[in-house]
């Protein structure tokens, strides 16, 4: 069995009286690209926010990159985790260069290392135009690029993406999200699973607060099912139907 980069056990959390996570167990191997979908939609996003340290779980535990969460003050550990959420978070009056510089300083890189990483990010995420103007002037597409670039600045081992880059055209979005690195683990929560085709090699579905299925992307294809919420749910149903039969046999 490959070592796991993300291990969640018994995660629980309610929001507004609704139990969105009701004891979720999930194990994502190193190097996997996992598409996480949920019904209701907010559950997958909530799970990523918990793992990023933004929301406290009501119960359960999780490890990221082999280290139990969480020491908010540990920059060394934090370098290994990247998170991009629906809100960009950084101040819109900062320029892309300032955002990257701030992210580099908070990761404790020295000036030379910061410059090297920022230059690489500018090239990879095509931030050249408007590099020194406030991010707000570039609109949502620029803000989303900068958010991803800042998350990738530390070359994280685990990248948590919560429905990212929705303002960017699909081809460019696919290019940006196809982050390199064989040992990098990506967990991508999405409300539009079909748009993530080609970016993931595993799928997981949270249904009513529980993990309904965690399968390979190929398993869907083998059953002729599409990469949609309905398709993944159908695979989950097929699995539950075959398991008792197998057990009976």
């Amino acid at each position: 069995m490959r070592p796991a980069a993300v291990v969640a056990s018994g995660l629980r959390r309610s929001v507004g009286g609704r139990r969105l996570l009701d004891g979720v167990d999930l194990r994502v191997p190193v190097g996997a690209r996992l598409l996480l979908v949920s019904e209701p939609d907010e559950a997958a996003s909530l799970m990523l926010r918990i793992m990023a340290g933004l929301v406290r779980p009501a119960g359960g535990s999780f490890d990221l990159a082999g280290v139990p969460r969480s020491d908010e003050a540990d920059a060394g550990w934090r370098r290994r985790i990247g998170y991009v959420g629906g809100e960009q978070g950084f101040y819109p009056w900062l320029s892309p260069r300032e955002v990257l510089d701030l992210a580099g300083r908070l990761a404790d890189y020295d000036a030379a290392e910061r410059t090297r990483r920022i230059d690489a990010a500018i090239e990879q995420f095509r931030l050249g135009p408007g590099l020194d103007r406030p991010v707000s002037r570039g609109g949502s597409p620029l803000a989303e690029r900068v958010a991803l670039a800042a998350a990738m600045l530390t070359d994280p081992e685990v990248l948590l993406l919560d429905d990212p880059l929705r303002s960017i055209d699909p081809a460019e979005r696919a290019r940006l999200l196809a982050v390199p690195g064989k040992r990098r683990t990506v967990v991508l929560a999405s409300r539009y699973p079909a748009s993530e085709d080609g970016l993931v090699n595993q799928v997981a579905l949270l249904l009513n607060g529980r993990l309904a299925i965690h399968a390979r992307r190929d398993d869907l294809e083998a059953q002729g099912l599409p990469l949609t919420l309905k398709g993944i749910a159908s695979l989950a149903v097929m699995r539950t139907q075959t398991m008792p039969r197998a057990a009976g046999a």
Partner: protein
């Protein structure tokens, strides 16, 4: 410490760019204007209530400090809502550091606004009612007012860690404004002698009649700073439990 400096710098820049820094400093300076424009009285004439320019200064400060407290509440709440606090937490900035950074920014802002306001009032009003050349009986209550302002900011940050921006800001203005105005308009001079956090303002408003303005004002400052510290500890606890 480096992260604390970074957060304080970001907070000050955010306040500057959104014009809130100018607004807060402007309100504090404006608090000094009515007292400078009122007809001057001398101690011998024994001004009645609300005729004393210093009392108007204290009233103006009470309102201004409450407004700054409300701004602090709304600012922290907004940081939580729009994800700026979360962006920093993801990058290894502890939540207490975020809170203390914003507190430092507002405490600095209070000092920046109070200094010109107090200087204006000293030059136009206070110098004649104090022993000329001895500014301490005036400076000590102004420090007391600043300390009361830090308590208002602390309470604001506590509410900002729990509520959404408008309710947090409004509630802080009402609570802090109520307490500070009662101190100035209500029970003085008895309140001025009590170790109440807002007593600095009461002493400032009734300065000519104070027997020990420096000692009482410093005692009031200490109480106000303790209130600020307690509010900050509670705010840190609340922010630690909050979803970002």
């Amino acid at each position: 410490m480096r992260r604390f400096g970074t957060v304080t710098g970001l907070a000050l820049r955010e306040l500057w760019i959104s014009y809130r820094l100018l607004l807060a400093v402007g309100i504090l300076v404006l608090a000094g204007l009515p007292s400078a424009m009122l007809p001057h009285t001398t101690p011998a004439l024994a001004p009645t209530r609300l005729e004393s320019p210093l009392e108007w200064f204290a009233i103006g400060l009470a309102v201004a400090l409450a407004v700054v407290g409300g701004m602090a509440a709304a600012a922290l709440s907004q940081e939580r809502r729009r994800g700026s606090a979360g962006w920093l937490v993801i990058r290894a900035v502890p939540r207490p550091v975020i809170l203390l950074g914003w507190f430092a920014a507002f405490v600095l802002l209070l000092a920046i606004g109070l200094a010109p306001a107090a200087t204006l009032v000293w030059l136009t009003v206070a110098a004649p009612v104090s022993d000329v050349g001895d500014a301490w009986p005036f400076v000590a209550p102004v420090v007391g007012a600043w300390a009361a302002g830090t308590a208002a900011v602390g309470v604001g940050l506590l509410l900002g860690a729990m509520l959404s921006p408008w309710p947090a800001g409004l509630f802080t203005v009402l609570v802090a404004g109520g307490v500070l105005l009662v101190a100035v308009l209500g029970a003085f001079p008895t309140l001025a002698e009590a170790p109440a956090p807002a007593a600095g303002l009461a002493i400032l408003g009734d300065l000519p009649n104070q027997a020990r303005p420096v000692a009482d004002a410093l005692r009031a400052s200490g109480t106000a700073l303790v209130i600020a510290a307690v509010a900050l500890i509670l705010a840190i606890t609340a922010l630690g439990r909050a979803d970002l």
